[in-house]
């Protein structure tokens, strides 16, 4: 197997005196979907934030495509092909759908490629095309989430970090989002997916990690975790 696109080793993050991550290690292989599941406060979001350098880790290393990125600034990480769709969507509510997408392509210089990608994502999410000149604060929750995913993809990342894409959405919309995530993954973009909806996440994931109070307590392929009695009991409510 080739080298993983992202490998995290012994990552530690503290919020003041509280240890949020106590040495998390995980790997995302090239072009695969990896799910990170766990209860509230387990450190899932913190892991993503530490990878994209929104937070400063205390110790540990993050390597992306073989390069150490632990000390880089957030914008330098985006430039290397790692996009982050933050929790709570984080779209620009006062800007239009189109302006949001343009900002997603902020670091790209190829106008033709940007226009092409924009059309591609309008194809994936037709509702966004319909609302392209609408201020994005007026979109529904599901549409905002679609916009957040599309915007993150506008930077043509090789790895996309997704934080709770299904949060607060109707089951039908969740279905749609996961369908698109499958498509994106089929096009060769690796995904690191943080989800409360463990069942859905593990279904599309090649690999999964279970996080508990800042540590990885279990890992395996998506199928293995789905079948494991502990996971079923703790996260799937059986």
């Amino acid at each position: 197997m080739s080298e993983p696109i992202l490998s995290i080793k012994d990552l530690q993050v503290n919020y003041g005196a509280i240890e949020a991550l106590r040495g998390v290690s995980l790997e995302v292989p090239e072009k695969q979907v990896v799910a990170l599941i766990g209860a509230n406060g387990a450190g899932k979001t913190t892991t993503l934030r530490a990878v994209s350098r929104m937070l400063r880790p205390v110790a540990g290393s993050v390597r992306f495509q073989g390069e150490e990125i632990t000390r880089l600034a957030p914008h330098e990480i985006v430039a290397r092909g790692l996009a982050h769709a933050p929790e709570g969507r984080g779209i620009f509510l006062n800007l239009t759908v189109q302006e949001n997408l343009e900002l997603g392509a902020f670091l790209r210089k190829d106008a033709a490629g940007i226009a092409e990608d924009m059309e591609k994502f309008y194809g994936l999410f037709p509702i966004l095309k319909e609302r392209r000149h609408q201020v994005s604060g007026t979109l529904s929750g599901g549409e905002q989430q679609m916009l957040a995913v599309a915007r993150a993809l506008m930077s043509r990342p090789r790895l996309l970090l997704l934080d709770e894409p299904s949060l607060g959405l109707a089951p039908q919309v969740v279905e749609r989002i996961f369908q698109v995530l499958r498509d994106i993954s089929a096009q060769g973009v690796a995904l690191l997916l943080v989800e409360q909806n463990a069942h859905k996440a593990l279904q599309i994931a090649h690999r999964g990690y279970v996080l508990e109070t800042g540590e990885v307590v279990m890992q395996g392929t998506g199928k293995e975790l789905l079948a494991s009695p502990e996971v079923r009991k703790a996260y799937l409510g059986e």
Binding site: S52, M54, A73, P74, H75, V78, A79, A83, H84, A85, P86, G90, I91, F92, L93, N94, L95, T96, Q98, E99, E102, L103, G104, A105, F106, L107, A111, I114, A115, H133, R151, A152, S155
Partner: protein
């Protein structure tokens, strides 16, 4: 050819404005409307200040209340240069033109020093947000004032007097024009997009790959340069350069203009600058109640229109051709 055309197009507003401004000032002089002309010039200087502060407070969403500090730096630089160059003539130019060239150079030097100050203040402090940044900029304003009051080279508290009167309606009008054009071009550019993104959501902007600290510093540098220009123009109008012109009261005045006009609206800043300048003069009739009325006017306006007169809209948003331009710009 294409380049020449583009250059001409960006110079066009100035080429049109120059004869118009000159004509207006000649007419005003002919009819001896000297005080009106004076107020008009002050209003144009306010326009430069308000529009340039809007780049930080409106577009970038950072709350700075130290604009007068940058003004002071530009003003003292320009004043020192014109004083040192008094009696000097550039060889080969008639005296009238030579004076104007020296004045231009002095103003440019003022813009440079002010923007350096913007950079120095910006670097360490722009990692701060909201109230903390406001306090730092306020502190910077006071530091500048105290330093000037204690430096004999800068005339201490009495300031520099005997400045030649160089500022004319044409100068301030062109300055205001340059500021407005700069702001408009900036918002439409990729740069401007980055600033708006920072205003809307700093974390999301970072996730998009916007170097937030870098862009904030650049906004500060640009804004400070134009504050320096306003300072240089002001002292060559009132022919006196004292620290009293650049206290934090002046900074607040500018903030009021920006907030009243609408944070993020160039049109709003321009109109608010005119309304406030002429309003204060019109209220002279009310004598000692002037400031009371002024404050009441502000309170009523903010209660009825909390986003300011224009919000983030611009007058050219109502022109369909330019509107489309804005909606689809940015990624080009």
């Amino acid at each position: 050819m294409e380049q020449v055309k583009l250059a001409l197009r960006s110079a066009l507003p100035f080429l049109i404005a120059l004869p118009v401004l000159w004509g207006v000032s000649e007419v005003l002089r002919y009819y001896e409307f000297t005080s009106f002309q004076y107020i008009l010039m002050m209003a144009f200087i306010d326009v430069i200040l308000a529009v340039s502060l809007n780049v930080i407070n409106g577009f970038t969403g950072q709350f700075s209340i130290g604009h007068a500090g940058f003004m002071a730096i530009g003003a003292y630089t320009a004043a020192k240069i014109t004083l040192a160059a008094r009696g000097l003539e550039i060889i080969g130019l008639p005296p009238g033109i030579s004076d104007q060239v020296i004045f231009l150079l002095a103003l440019l030097a003022g813009m440079c020093t002010a923007s350096i100050a913007g950079f120095l203040v910006g670097m360490p402090s722009l990692r701060l947000r909201g109230d903390y940044l406001a306090i730092v900029t306020l502190g910077f304003n006071e530091i500048i004032r105290v330093v000037i009051e204690n430096t004999s080279f800068l005339g201490q508290a009495t300031g520099l007097s005997g400045l030649p009167r160089r500022t004319t309606l044409v100068w301030v009008g062109m300055g205001a024009m340059a500021t407005i054009l700069m702001a408009r071009r900036l918002v439409g550019s990729t740069h401007g997009r980055a600033l708006l993104a920072i205003r809307e959501d700093e974390v999301a902007a970072e996730a998009m790959g916007v170097n937030t600290t870098g862009y904030k510093v650049r906004a500060f540098v640009i804004s400070a340069a134009f504050a320096g220009l306003a300072g240089g123009l002001l002292v060559h109008l009132i022919q006196l350069c004292t620290p009293r012109s650049f206290t934090f009261v002046k900074s607040i005045e500018v903030v009021v203009m920006v907030v009243l006009g609408g944070m993020g609206s160039i049109t709003g800043s321009v109109i608010a600058a005119f309304v406030l300048r002429f309003g204060v003069e019109a209220l002279r009739e009310a004598q000692q109640y002037r400031m009371v009325l002024y404050s009441m006017l502000l309170i009523v306006l903010m209660l009825t229109r909390p986003t300011g007169l224009f919000g983030t809209r611009e007058i050219w948003d109502w022109l369909p051709r330019l509107r489309r331009n804005r909606a689809e710009g940015g990624a080009r």
